[in-house]
């Protein structure tokens, strides 16, 4: 899922500026699961904003709502009645949610309350880790189900660099060396021969490096 974290409240207050009628919008999908932008976080942020504006002596009306998915136009459509008399929308969705709302409500400003971090999973309570960079050409079959693109700091394809020590990355010893993990897993699977062949230079054009991406499935088009 998409992992995001809330921005500092001071930054959000700054983004509100002189706006007086605000709608804080949550999302029930990824950001609810990663505890950053669901109904609960929306309630907390809306209360914090009301309090902050009262302290500043400002008359600001703060409404709140949470929709199923901010990344689908059908759900964003349902915001119409609540959004129409507002002068600012605050999205607590990921960057996709913010942009879907911006596209749908072309004449209303929308600002992000979250920083979208990465595609990953909760490793344990309160800890989220990255697992995929959406490079567009999955190599997990060759690397024991461990992604060198997202988990090696240098996205190396042919084994650990000289900075790998005791299974940890040169950047800091809190980060596992992806190639150490790949080696250990392929060893356990009795498939170390996967590592003998030189992986060719990667085609990064299917990644973000090829420009904004689009997927079309003719069979699904109406």
């Amino acid at each position: 899922m998409i992992i995001a974290e809330q921005k500092e409240i001071s930054e959000i207050i700054n983004m509100v500026g002189d706006h007086r009628k605000i709608l804080v919008i949550g999302c029930d999908t990824c950001v609810t699961v990663c505890l950053s932008g669901g109904a609960k976080e929306v309630a907390i942020l809306a209360s914090a904003l009301r309090l902050a504006f009262r302290v500043q002596g400002k008359q600001v009306e703060v409404n709140e709502t949470t929709i199923e998915r901010q990344c689908e136009i059908e759900f964003v459509d349902s915001l119409e009645s609540m959004a129409k008399d507002k002068d600012l929308l605050i999205s607590m969705g990921c960057g996709i949610g913010v942009q879907t709302i911006a596209e749908r409500f072309f004449h209303l400003p929308v600002v992000p309350a979250l920083n979208t971090k990465f595609l990953g999973l909760p490793e344990k309570q309160g800890v989220w880790v990255e697992r995929c960079q959406a490079c567009g050409q999955c190599v997990l079959d060759k690397t024991g189900g461990i992604c060198p693109i997202s988990r090696c700091s240098k996205s190396l394809l042919n084994g650990p660099c000289g900075g790998s020590q005791n299974g940890k990355c040169e950047i800091n010893d809190e980060i596992d060396c992806a190639w150490h993990l790949i080696y250990e897993r392929l060893k356990a699977l009795n498939r170390l021969e996967c590592l003998e062949e030189i992986m060719p230079v990667k085609d990064w054009s299917t990644s973000r490096d090829g420009g904004p991406r689009k997927m079309i499935r003719e069979d699904m088009c109406l």
Partner: protein
């Protein structure tokens, strides 16, 4: 005798390395280099070493070559994509450079521009393949390395590069490193320089493996100047592990730099006959390489 000839004729080969300045004043670098040039076969020029921005290795190699020094052009994948790497390799060849050390490069986060966007379009193994391809007179254009060499665009004048790579025989665990090392041999590395060697038993085991692959190895020797420096290296430089007994030897010395020189010379003597040469890293005290070589009787 130049570096390539020395290695090919199986002589004990001595290299050292020099870091370009942070700035445009190359006088000190050139002065240091000229003091030691007659005692070493070649001089590596580091490429934004430890991800610290400095004058470029290509320009510095060219300046050293003008002084009659055989440079080893260090080239990392950290700051250049495949266009820049190939282009710089053509430039190097056009300037008459021959020896290239293909490196992945430290991550920007360990250096002085930690917010930089790293490149790592290709890795060092793939860079070795690219060098092989340029030497064949073809570039990487429009297709990928798994296609036959006849593809790609023919170069107007091919490179004549002598590619090398690095290996970290002290890595723990060693097996994943050895797999990568073997790939580098297959990818065309003609010589290897190692990170600083301290565990000679481990190194001899590594050499058995390297000899079977026919790889030429120059063992890394790092000049310690104080116990504090050793601790700093252990903490901050990826792949360096100075053992406690050497730190103690440095600590109890009244003249730590002299002790560092003696330690380095001792290590060189131990390595003679085991590997193909040594690569001495004096990190800013390049003129001390002379003292190390004198002490080692080379």
């Amino acid at each position: 005798m130049n570096f390539q000839q020395s290695l090919t004729q199986n002589q004990f080969t001595i290299t050292t390395e020099i870091g370009p300045p942070k700035g445009t004043d190359t006088s000190e670098m050139l002065a240091q280099a000229s003091k030691i040039k007659d005692r070493v076969h070649a001089m590596n020029v580091t490429d934004n070493q430890s991800s610290i921005m400095r004058l470029g290795s290509l320009a510095a190699c060219h300046l050293l070559k003008e002084q009659g020094i055989d440079p080893i052009y260090q080239l990392t994948c950290r700051d250049r994509n495949r266009l820049a790497l190939q282009s710089d390799l053509l430039s190097a060849s056009a300037l008459g450079l021959r020896n290239v050390l293909a490196l992945t490069g430290d991550h920007p986060q360990v250096g002085d521009h930690p917010q930089a966007k790293p490149v790592f379009d290709v890795d060092s193994t793939q860079l070795l393949q690219i060098i092989g391809r340029l030497n064949e007179g073809r570039d990487l254009s429009t297709q990928f390395m798994n296609k036959p060499l006849t593809e790609g665009t023919a170069l107007k004048g091919k490179t004549d590069l002598f590619p090398g790579a690095v290996v970290c025989p002290e890595a723990n665990p060693i097996k994943p490193q050895l797999l990568r090392f073997s790939k580098k041999v297959v990818a065309g590395a003609k010589f290897f320089q190692t990170q600083a060697i301290y565990d000679f038993e481990k190194f001899e085991n590594f050499m058995k493996y390297a000899r079977d692959l026919g790889a030429k190895i120059l063992a890394g020797i790092l000049l310690l100047r104080s116990a504090g420096m050793a601790r700093y290296l252990n903490k901050n430089v990826p792949g360096i592990m100075v053992p406690d007994h050497l730190i103690k030897e440095m600590e109890s010395s009244a003249h730590p730099l002299e002790t560092g020189i003696k330690i380095a010379a001792r290590q060189i003597s131990q390595l003679k006959g085991i590997c193909n040469g040594v690569h001495i890293m004096a990190i800013g005290l390049e003129d001390k390489v002379l003292d190390i070589l004198d002490e080692a009787g080379i």
